[in-house]
């Protein structure tokens, strides 16, 4: 019986809590992130004999080093090694929410996207083709309506499939509702930052790969992007040579 750790990340007002509650029911408790006064909600559910542990990260619009909550979310993703990241996305605000999604992807953790509040999007006259989103991102995209408990089963299937590597690598597809097989043909999604920046990133990536300790801990591309942005926390992590 395994324990699979899943980090739940999303922007504020994306309905993250509702999805979290939908998946874990009463099996949750509140703790504190070490050393700070930010609440950490932890819950669990069982799936085919294994226990899936969900850790609710603070809701943030981005993953910079400028606020304590962003630092906490980032720190958890980098150092606690969750197996999967469940990204809750507000379907009615897809554009802004994707901004966070891209950053999560850059960190290299296998991801499942829950396209939440589909009912609100529909009321606003928006219709979203989840398959198209899935094709672009290369990850499972599950439509959900957290308030009405819709999508729980599909999310659980997708999390498990992603955990096993089926959805990201092209080995064996479980054919879950996520994308009906489209994902297995995808390469990991990457944003093109333009020639100038990309060449700087590539050169920095190469330098990072020369240091096996650091490159084994952090996704080289993610780190390279962060260092180019002059991210203070990223610099600190490099300085400490991978120690927290």
């Amino acid at each position: 019986m395994k324990e699979i750790i899943v980090a739940v990340a999303g922007q504020p007002n994306s309905g993250k809590s509702t999805i979290f509650n939908m998946l874990t029911g009463a099996r949750q408790h509140v703790a504190n992130y070490p050393g700070v006064t930010v609440e950490k909600k932890i819950g669990r559910y069982t799936y085919k004999g294994d226990t899936v542990v969900l850790v609710d990260l603070p809701g943030t619009y981005s993953l910079t080093s400028y606020s304590q909550e962003e630092k906490i979310a980032r720190d958890f993703l980098l150092h606690e090694k969750p197996a999967v990241v469940l990204n809750i996305v507000d379907a009615a605000n897809l554009e802004r929410n994707l901004y966070l999604t891209f950053q999560l992807q850059e960190m290299g953790i296998p991801m499942v996207v829950a396209l939440n509040m589909m009912d609100v999007a529909k009321d606003r006259g928006l219709s979203i083709n989840t398959n198209t989103v899935n094709e672009f991102l290369g990850v499972a995209v599950i439509p959900t309506v957290g308030k009405k408990n819709r999508g729980a089963g599909d999310i659980k299937d997708a999390i498990f499939g992603t955990y096993r590597g089926d959805c990201v690598q092209a080995t064996a597809c479980v054919g879950c509702a996520a994308c009906s097989g489209a994902t297995q043909k995808k390469r990991p999604f990457k944003i093109d930052y333009g020639n100038d920046l990309e060449s700087a990133i590539a050169s920095l990536e190469a330098k990072i790969l020369e240091d096996p300790r650091i490159s084994s801990l952090y996704s080289p591309r993610w780190l390279a992007v962060k260092l180019m942005e002059n991210d203070s926390e990223a610099r600190r992590l490099v300085k400490k040579g991978g120690d927290r």
């Binding site: 979203i128 989103v133 330098k207 990072i208």
Partner: protein, 610 residues
């Protein structure tokens, strides 16, 4: 190796900025949004032009120049009506349960002595009383938390921050400070415990700390009993004005303190950009609201109980030890014996009940009598009353006859037992005398206790604020629970033995003939600034992560409150102002100071507008 990476990064970054005339961050953000736009364009279709018009319509009213604040005030008022007023009404129903629990515990502990209670009873009961006093607030908390959850889930909370941000920022606070302050008691009785908990939502460190530190200054519910007592005594003709003064002065002082803090001690704390999303309004779900509200109440109950128990215990011990000494105990025992002897004389040697009541029998009867009285009070219907009678008859038939004043029914026949009636009458007198002795013992105990000695020792100093040593003791004891201040005063201002039962107001007035409204005003002001109760301090420690701030939060109100009390009392006396005049002068000064502070620029480099 490591420095290689960093140096390389610095080099690449410099090169990039020089060549592309922009920073990598900007390019990164831009490219991300461009990609997002591409995805959205391909996958999202806008079928009708229905962009959040309902929300916009609502906002046109809610954020309007004039209607906005009106709606806000209306909602704040509603908040109070529901949580404080209705919540209090509900506590009337929940109190009996708490009282019942207390009585069960009381019955399990060793029974009370005739005039002295064993420690094993007194101490646990004292602690239990302290805990249920706090638990009594739970219905109010439940409603408060539910209302907050609704405000947050619906999206209205963001609008509150939006509306109030400007004013609050003049004082070093944040739009989001609104909720914590409202909870702690703006204008009416609130509670700083959920108030400080709510500070969690403030992202800006500086404003968060400032808000946490001023929440205890607001109108806490527990201060109200003392206000009512004093206003009733000295300002009966001006009740409305004085209550208005009390309710608003706290906000005025709180804002001033927040500003001073942000200019001095919090000067170097982190600030955060404002950028606040105003989400579409939507109906909160019952499930979501309930879950949040229960979660928070549970956290409160769990975290608070242990600490409160410990502190109540400590305060109780300090108010009891070292005790009145064996000499005095002897004195009271002898008094009790005299009264007991008189009792037996009154009922007569030949009274059939006399044997039963010898020695321990009297003691047992005393407990029986009290238990019966208490049970009868809790019985609200005729059926319940009958049940109580049955129970007590079964417990002790003879005692039952006595408490029923000799009139009882057996199988339809009514008996009139004159001997029992005689015992009942004599016992009533003895009971009064017994209670008087107990009260006197209590008063003497408090006066001679550690707490009492501190209170008396401080009198030369506190005199300048108009506080005598009894007031000092009540104030120190209030640290465990401010409501207790009235109860403590009650113990310290006993009725004259043999006199009629007068209200505390009258008893105090009689004893302290020299008191004027100025005395009351000084005391009221000290109470408004009273340091936070233990549960609140605990919350401050938890939310700020540092004991230093919790200590500061305890000390500075004492300094401030003492200052105000002394200034008002001594100043008012010197200037020969009466209570109301002193109040008005103080109010105007406070307003002026706060308004002046609001005009001082913040240390914020980005701020061109304050």
């Amino acid at each position: 190796m490591v420095t290689d990476i960093l140096t390389h990064a610095d080099g690449e970054r410099k090169k990039f900025i020089a060549e592309c005339k922009t920073t990598p961050e900007k390019v990164v953000a831009r490219k991300r949004y461009e990609t997002a736009e591409k995805i959205v364009e391909s996958s999202v279709r806008q079928e009708k032009k229905n962009l959040r018009t309902l929300t916009d319509k609502i906002d046109r009213v809610v954020c309007h120049k004039i209607f906005g604040p009106v709606v806000l005030l209306a909602i704040i008022f509603l908040f109070y009506e529901l949580s404080i007023v209705q919540g209090y009404k509900i506590t009337a129903y929940t109190w009996p349960f708490l009282a019942a629990v207390r009585n069960i515990i009381a019955s399990v502990l060793p029974s009370p002595g005739f005039i002295f209670d064993p420690l094993l009873r007194a101490i646990p009961l004292g602690v239990v009383d302290g805990i249920i006093a706090v638990f009594n607030y739970i219905p109010i908390f439940l409603i408060l938390f539910a209302l907050i959850a609704i405000m947050e889930d619906s999206g209205y909370m963001a609008r509150v921050s939006f509306l109030l941000d400007r004013i609050f920022r003049y004082f070093g606070l944040h739009g989001q400070s609104a909720l914590p302050m409202i909870l702690s008691g703006v204008f009416v009785g609130g509670c700083a415990i959920p108030g400080v908990m709510a500070c969690r939502i403030i992202k800006d460190e500086k404003a968060k700390l400032a808000t946490m530190l001023i929440c205890p200054l607001m109108n806490c519910m527990a201060k109200i009993p003392l206000y009512i007592l004093l206003v009733g005594m000295f300002f009966a003709a001006h009740k409305g004005i004085v209550m208005f003064f009390i309710s608003t002065i706290t906000l005025i002082v709180a804002l001033a303190v927040a500003k001073i803090l942000s200019l001095t001690m919090l000067r170097h704390a982190e600030t955060a950009p404002f950028v606040l999303e105003m989400p579409t309004y939507h109906l909160p779900t019952v499930k979501g609201v309930l879950r949040r509200c229960l979660e928070r109440t549970w956290v409160f109950a769990r975290k608070i109980t242990t600490i409160v128990a410990v502190v109540v215990l400590i305060i109780y011990v300090l108010m009891t030890f070292p005790g009145i000494g064996s000499d005095r105990e002897g004195f009271y025992s002898e008094q009790a014996n005299r009264h007991t002897a008189a009792f037996f004389t009154a009922i007569g040697e030949n009274n059939p009940y006399a044997n039963l009541l010898e020695g321990q029998g009297l003691h047992a009867f005393a407990n029986y009598y009290d238990d019966y009285r208490q049970a009868k009070m809790g019985a609200t219907s005729t059926n319940k009353k009958a049940a109580v009678d049955e129970k007590f008859r079964a417990r002790n038939d003879s005692f039952f006859k006595i408490v029923k004043r000799g009139r009882y029914t057996v199988d339809g026949t009514t008996f009139k037992d004159r001997d029992a009636l005689k015992v009942n009458k004599a016992y009533k007198k003895l009971n009064r005398e017994r209670n008087t002795i107990r009260r006197e013992i209590k008063e003497e105990t408090i006066i001679g206790s550690v707490m009492g000695r501190i209170g008396r020792a401080m009198e030369p100093v506190t005199r300048h604020a108009g506080f005598n040593w009894r007031v000092n003791i009540a104030l120190i004891g209030a640290f465990a629970a401010k409501e207790n201040s009235v109860a403590t005063l009650g113990s310290l201002y006993q009725a004259e033995p043999g006199g009629e039962e007068k209200a505390l107001e009258e008893r105090m007035k009689e004893k302290e003939k020299g008191w004027t409204p100025l005395h009351a005003l000084a005391l009221i002001l000290f109470m408004t600034m009273y340091p936070p109760c233990i549960p609140t301090l605990l919350m401050i420690r938890l939310e700020s992560g540092s004991t230093k701030w919790a200590l500061f939060a305890t000390l500075y109100p004492i300094v401030l409150g003492s200052l105000f009390a002394v200034v008002v009392f001594t100043g008012g006396t010197l200037l020969e102002l009466n209570g109301i005049q002193a109040m008005i002068v103080f109010y105007i000064c406070a307003l002026a100071v706060t308004a002046g502070l609001g005009c001082i620029k913040n240390a914020d480099p980005l701020d061109e507008y304050s």
